[in-house]
């Protein structure tokens, strides 16, 4: 009974459920506020993402003609569920993950990709020109950043000798991997930007070209869930960055400081860069991203071999 209650609390309240959603909205607000301040604007109030979500949830849902209604309704749910499930295995607030087993890192990575896949499918499902182009770009981008992103996550795993997030964090708490594997840190953060379609990697949803990409036809609930999923992914991603590269997470304050630092890094890149064309994005990732991470791996192996 106690076990069942614990599961219920974990899933609905803490750390995934409501707490995580709220947390995601706060991080989204920090992101928007920072971007605004860097652009010399005022930026939104702290409850703006919450207000946006409530408003979207209350909106009428319009089904475009020729769509599969079941897919249209359930894709956002599956995407958000994937992102929320991923959060079960990461040390949110520095507390030990709700569930942990050997190899949970790989599960987390694939759960994070689920949202992108759902996004792509949703775009193809709605059959509009803009959605179709957006979906194509989303999936193209997925193939571009996925490999370097995964390699950057596996770098710490290799030195820690484990695929369990808990154990990797225990290892990285002893030494800050950002100093020994700086390339991995940068590639991971930039990969996260690609995953979340943050500028300069926002060509899949470039508003001046294809309106909103795969989500063009979405309104109301579906849009709200997709957006929430992306915000949750941001939190999960930032947690992973802090846990692996920034010397682990020891307490909630430590967590906030380290994740906000990473967010600041992301926001700085976001505001100072021009959107990349999709061919440029792919070129960048395969030509530079992957290559750099491979160089990093070479170093890791050399050092491992020496020691």
């Amino acid at each position: 009974m106690i076990e069942f209650l614990r599961t219920l609390v974990i899933l609905l309240l803490f750390p995934t459920g409501l707490f995580l959603l709220f947390n995601a909205m706060i991080y989204q607000w920090i992101d928007r506020k920072l971007v605004a301040r860097l652009q010399n604007r005022v930026g939104p109030k702290w409850y703006q993402p919450l207000a946006d979500t409530i408003k979207l949830l209350a909106n009428e849902e319009v089904f475009p003609e020729g769509t599969n209604h079941i897919l249209f309704v359930w894709l956002p749910v599956v995407g958000l569920a994937g992102a929320l499930t991923a959060a079960l295995y990461v040390p949110i607030l520095g507390l030990s993950p709700a569930y942990s087993f050997s190899g949970d890192l790989l599960v987390t990575v694939y759960l994070l990709s689920l949202l992108t896949l759902c996004l792509g499918l949703a775009g193809v499902n709605t059959r509009g020109q803009f959605s179709m182009l957006g979906a194509t770009r989303t999936l193209t981008q997925l193939f571009a950043y996925e490999a370097p992103f995964l390699l950057a996550l596996l770098g710490p795993a290799v030195v820690a000798g484990s695929l369990q997030i808990n154990e990797i964090m225990a290892y990285s708490s002893q030494q800050w991997l950002i100093f020994t594997q700086p390339i991995g840190f940068v590639v991971l953060l930039v990969g996260l930007m690609g995953k979340l379609e943050i500028p300069p990697f926002d060509s899949p949803e470039a508003e001046t070209e294809i309106v909103a990409g795969a989500l063009t036809e979405y309104s109301g609930r579906g849009l709200a869930l997709f957006r929430l999923g992306q915000w949750v992914e941001l939190v999960v991603g930032l947690t992973l960055v802090a846990a692996f590269y920034l010397g682990g997470i020891h307490n909630p304050l430590d967590y906030v400081m380290k994740t906000v630092f990473s967010l600041l890094f992301i926001v700085t890149l976001q505001t100072t860069m021009t959107r990349l064309r999709i061919d440029q994005t792919v070129g960048l990732w395969w030509r530079y991203g992957t290559l750099l991470v491979l160089v990093q791996w070479l170093f890791i192996y050399l050092i491992e071999g020496v020691s």
Binding site: R37, N40, R41, G43, T268, T272
Partner: protein, 136 residues
């Protein structure tokens, strides 16, 4: 390869004040030449109708109550006005003036845009005449 060339700007902004001004801004001073709501001063008006004639948006109408006594009523429609100040240029007796501080003029009904200038009795008389016209 140079990237993040705007870095200096964003750093400056992060620690500076936002450029956005609040609305309504209590500190804002209207520019001296701001063209706001039109006001008509009956003293000196000869009823030459030049302001009415050249109004590009037909916002003005001058009713002659008594030509000899120089009694006129001006009907001014703020909703039609384009605030070009051609009427002021035309008026040789400086009867017209645009208020510098009356610029937030939005309203929810078009009736409140219509303004009658002139002696109260004349306006009343005119309004009564127009309502009887309508009812006929």
């Amino acid at each position: 390869m140079k990237i993040t060339l705007m870095f200096r700007d964003i750093l400056k902004s992060l620690f500076g004040k936002p450029a956005t001004e609040p609305f309504p801004n209590p500190e804002q001073i209207e520019p001296e030449r701001l063209r706001g709501k039109l006001h008509w001063n009956p003293d000196g008006c000869t009823g030459c109708q030049l302001c009415v004639k050249d109004c590009p948006s037909n916002a003005l109408k001058l009713f002659v109550i008594d030509k000899a006594k120089k009694e006129f009523v001006m009907r001014y429609d703020v909703g039609m006005c384009t605030f070009c100040s051609q009427c002021i240029e035309n008026c040789r007796f400086n009867c017209l003036d645009m208020a510098q501080d009356e610029w937030a003029l939005s309203a929810s009904s078009s009736e409140s845009f219509i303004e009658f200038y002139g002696k109260e009795t004349n306006v009343k008389q005119l309004l009564e005449a127009s309502t009887t016209d309508d009812s006929e």
